[in-house]
């Protein structure tokens, strides 16, 4: 059976050997051929020498979720041969470096073995040890080009763009690609039944990772202060922000910066800097991951109670504790929603892909400033670090930041009086003033008990009045957050509810379930606290399958707590072993629940 533009392959190497650039090249070439493609990088928490995999899925229908079914394995890491051989689907292919014989024990009768003597070819063509290793990885890209039918013209174009300023590297790369390509052509039936044919499905699309997109979103949203402490998988977000700032925010004449980036001594300090900067009137943010959020808790409560805006990106990884730093999860949903001691509840928004990461990043500052409170933007390692195919990012030039109720010097001058925590408009959001603007704007920011006038208090009624208003304010924010994405299917009686990066797997699963006669309405929540729409959707369905990536069904708990929906209406479907969710996780989870109910 020919599987044109609908297959998946996986490349097993060791990290630090340059395979990343070969993998990127292959993926980008497929994309440029107009074929929908996604890549998932499975890497160790290590710098050099440990196993790493890159999974590429090609799908003409545009399904972009991870699939764990591999038609072809490029097994170049002897340390993981056994595991890699076992992962190929029956009837599939395995490409290996035949410079050394393959252990007979690793041979499977239902797999076709494609031996390419990559090391030998490269040892003949290149001199230095490092170059030989690097080029070996480029050579397999050449072999794959022949086997899968990747357009060589596209590859050439890509290498030329990439090495425009390094002609020596360009020559080596071209040589290596040709070595692999010609060897495959000469020795195998090319292309394989799984192969590529040009399409026209990617011209309005880009390949981008969520961290880069979110960093760009911060630039577009007008953030001027970023504070951070490096942690996988969030690190590349600040790198992205910095790169774009260097491009767009350096004064042409004076070379001075319209941004400040502070690498803090820890996450505790990072969020403190964000709070300090926001308090002083800048749009400020910090990117981190779960362990960082844990450290930030005390400060988050301060910002919540003293009503200081702060934008916190949580690129989630597996927990608890250090967990598996290079694997993905949605394990911080609860943590972020209720971070810090005492009664707190925080605004959270949940992008599903890099495009939303860009949009929500920019929007998060409006939300934080409008509601004068911390806002969490929760992505995960899969969204943050993997390259996703998404529509091109766009920007509306008529956008102006919503700085919220910040009083200007003129407004303060004209005002009879200014009290920081007075609910003048009845919407729970008080007026704010910035330091250095006007003597009348002065007030004392404190995390200790305060009354609506901003004064210290230990009076029960005064204290409770403010605490209750803050709660109202956060509740009112629900409708200002990105609305849930809802897709109704005629005749559907049950619902499927999810959050964030599970979206792609759910969309694919819904189509496949429909083929089996199981029709489900769909809702992806995008903001917490949940809006009335969310409450209504849950109420409309007797059964809602809640799909998420954590052990404890955190989304399900949040839905119950925040909408009052009884747990009996919320059936949990979970996958939390660290890889991005696949359609089959959703399908098998839903079917298992249905069988149990039947």
């Amino acid at each position: 059976m020919d599987r044109v533009n609908d297959f998946a392959f996986k490349i097993a190497t060791a990290n630090g050997t340059g395979s990343a650039s070969a993998n990127g090249l292959i993926m980008q070439a497929i994309f440029r051929m107009g074929i929908p493609v996604t890549g998932k990088n499975v890497f160790p928490s290590n710098i050099q020498g440990l196993p790493t995999w890159y999974e590429i899925r090609v799908n003409k229908h545009g399904y972009t979720a991870r699939t764990p079914h591999f038609d072809l394995m490029v097994a170049l890491n002897a340390a993981t041969y056994a595991k890699d051989v076992a992962e190929v689907r029956a009837g599939g292919w395995l490409l290996f470096d035949s410079s050394w014989p393959l252990d007979e024990k690793l041979k499977r009768p239902d797999v076709t073995y494609l031996g390419v003597p990559l090391a030998e070819l490269c040892n003949g063509a290149f001199k230095g040890v490092r170059e030989r290793i690097l080029m070996k990885n480029i050579a397999y890209a050449g072999a794959l080009a022949a086997l899968l039918g990747i357009d060589t013209e596209v590859i050439r174009q890509l290498t030329q763009e990439k090495f425009a300023k390094k002609p020596a590297l360009l020559a080596s790369n071209d040589t290596a690609i040709a070595l692999g390509y010609n060897y495959a052509k000469d020795h195998f039936q090319c292309p394989l039944p799984i192969h590529l044919e040009r399409m026209d499905e990617t011209k309005d699309k880009i390949l981008i990772d969520g961290n880069t997109a979110a960093g760009l979103g911060c630039v577009y949203g007008g953030a001027t202060v970023g504070a951070w402490y490096p942690i996988t998988p969030s690190t590349s977000m600040m790198e992205g922000f910095k790169g774009f700032c260097q491009k767009y925010r350096v004064d042409k004449e004076t070379k001075k910066h319209r941004y400040a980036i502070i690498q803090a001594e820890d996450e505790l300090a990072a969020v403190g800097m964000v709070i300090g900067a926001s308090w002083a009137g800048a749009r400020a943010f910090t990117p981190t991951s779960g362990p960082g959020i844990s450290l930030m808790n005390e400060f988050i409560g301060l910002a919540y109670y003293s009503e200081v805006p702060a934008v916190i990106f949580d690129v989630q990884r597996t927990g608890p504790s250090t967990g598996m730093p290079t694997r993905t999860q949605q394990g911080d949903l609860m943590l972020c929603a209720y971070a810090s001691h005492g009664d707190t509840r925080h605004i959270c928004i949940y992008p599903a892909d890099p495009k939303e990461a860009f949009e929500f990043a920019a929007k998060s500052f409006d939300i934080a400033e409008r509601f004068q409170t911390p806002v969490f933007v929760l992505t995960d390692l899969d969204i943050g670090m993997n390259d996703w195919m998404v529509p091109k990012l766009t920007w509306d030039d008529s956008y102006r930041p919503d700085r919220g109720k910040v009083l200007s010097a003129e407004e303060l001058e004209a005002a009879k009086s200014f009290y920081r925590y007075l609910d003048i408009d009845g919407d729970g959001v008080p007026q704010r003033s910035l330091p250095g603007v006007h003597p009348k704007g002065a007030y004392f920011t404190r995390g200790s008990g305060h009354n609506k006038f901003g004064a210290y208090t230990e009076d029960s009624d005064e204290y409770q009045e403010v605490l209750d208003r803050v709660n109202r304010k956060i509740q009112n924010a629900a409708r200002a957050l990105p609305a849930p994405v809802i897709r109704k299917t005629p005749g559907a009686k049950m619902g499927l509810v999810t959050v964030g990066g599970c979206h792609a797997a759910c969309m694919e699963a819904l189509d496949l379930l429909a083929k089996d006669g199981i029709h489900l309405d769909y809702m992806r929540v995008r903001g917490f606290p949940f809006s009335d729409e969310v409450r209504q959707f849950l109420a409309e369905h007797d059964t809602n399958f809640v799909v998420e990536q954590n052990r404890d069904a955190q989304l399900r708990s949040l839905l119950m707590l925040d909408t009052g929906t009884p747990l009996t209406k919320l059936e949990s479907v979970r996958y939390y072993a660290g890889f991005p969710m696949s359609a089959h996780h959703v399908i098998s989870g839903v079917k298992a629940k249905l069988e149990k109910a039947a």
Partner: protein
């Protein structure tokens, strides 16, 4: 504790500064600290210094952590924004605020618990970054607000009120600041206003992190016999090594103001800090010599005070980060957002 607003009564006889403000205009709410607490004297010195410097109160941000000492920003400059943050974390707030708006005059008030235990890391890194602020550590050797436990600045052998001796070495904030590369380091005594006021003024004028450790006795928990942070002990052991004076920009330095072998360092705004060594050969511009001298004298149980070190070429955080002049907070959005056309161009990079 409650918040008591001070009645605003203006006496026509009160002296006015260049802004037409009296000292009263630099005060805050009435203190709720124990009568006689050293912290209140420091508050009075802060009021005096800001008034003398003609700083408009609303251009100031006063920041603190948690502790009796950290409460004091409520007691001065009522027309300035205050931020009483969380325990030991004021430096992070200051760092962020300083990035956002470098035109703010920032004063941070902290305690020895706040700065040398829970917040030690943040203090160190604020020094390293040379955040442009005056940092006042009100040092009483105990945690006042939690009722008298030893702090990390308690000297070995110092006795607690309950009669227990402290066994561990002290973290000396001044030596620490010198080691970390602080660009302005001073020590003073809450009971010595004549020395403290000019130091505060010099610290405010300093571009970078100006660190002043002020011995500030806790009358309730650490002012007894056997304590090395009591009024009596400090009075007895205080030795002024450098007398500093602050000369505003508009004044000429005259011989009269710089008697003896005086040195002066010009501040970024054109004002001068002049200082005269009381101790022979003490050089407040030589970090290593200062460090060694202080350490030597400590062995003799001397509490050296005065302007202990000043660097003439301090590059503060904003300068190191090459920030554009002025606040980042109100830059026109067009200068921050690259716009749709630029985004469209950028998309080519991701294809």
């Amino acid at each position: 504790m409650t918040y008591i607003a001070k009645p605003k009564v203006h006496h026509p006889s009160l002296k006015k500064n260049a802004l037409g403000l009296t000292r009263r205009d630099y005060e805050g709410a009435i203190t709720t600290l124990c009568a006689g607490c050293g912290h209140d004297s420091i508050t009075a010195a802060i009021v005096q210094a800001f008034w003398e410097l003609d700083i408009a109160p609303h251009t100031v941000a006063k920041l603190s952590g948690i502790g009796c000492s950290s409460k004091t920003p409520a007691y001065f400059l009522k027309e300035a924004h205050g931020f009483n943050s969380v325990h030991g974390r004021m430096p992070a707030i200051a760092t962020g605020a300083g990035c956002a708006n470098q035109t703010l005059t920032m004063i941070g008030v902290s305690g020895d618990g706040d700065s040398l235990s829970i917040g030690l890391g943040q203090l160190c890194h604020a020094i390293r970054r040379n955040v442009n602020m005056l940092y006042v550590l009100e040092n009483n050797g105990v945690y006042g607000l939690t009722k008298g436990q030893f702090s990390a600045s308690a000297d070995p052998g110092s006795m607690s009120k309950k009669g227990e001796a402290n066994t561990m070495d002290a973290i000396d904030s001044v030596l620490l600041a010198l080691t970390l590369g602080a660009t302005f380091v001073a020590r003073s005594f809450s009971g010595d206003k004549a020395q403290l006021v000019p130091l505060i003024k010099a610290g405010l004028a300093h571009k970078g992190f100006a660190f002043i450790d002020v011995i500030s006795p806790c009358v309730t928990f650490n002012d007894h016999e056997g304590s090395t942070k009591s009024y009596a002990y400090t009075r007895e052991h205080q030795v002024e090594v450098v007398q500093a004076d602050f000369v505003p920009m508009r004044d000429e330095i005259t011989a009269e103001q710089t008697p003896g072998a005086a040195k002066s360092v010009m501040m970024h705004d054109g004002s001068w800090v002049t200082f005269r060594s009381v101790a022979e050969n003490y050089d407040a511009t030589n970090r290593d010599a200062a460090y060694n001298y202080i350490r030597e004298r400590q062995k003799e149980h001397e509490v050296l005070t005065g302007l202990l070190y000043i660097s003439a070429d301090s590059r503060d955080m904003a300068e190191q980060n090459e920030l554009i002049p002025g606040p980042l907070t109100n830059l026109p959005f067009e200068t921050l957002c690259p716009g749709s056309a630029e985004l469209d161009k950028l998309m080519a990079r991701f294809r």
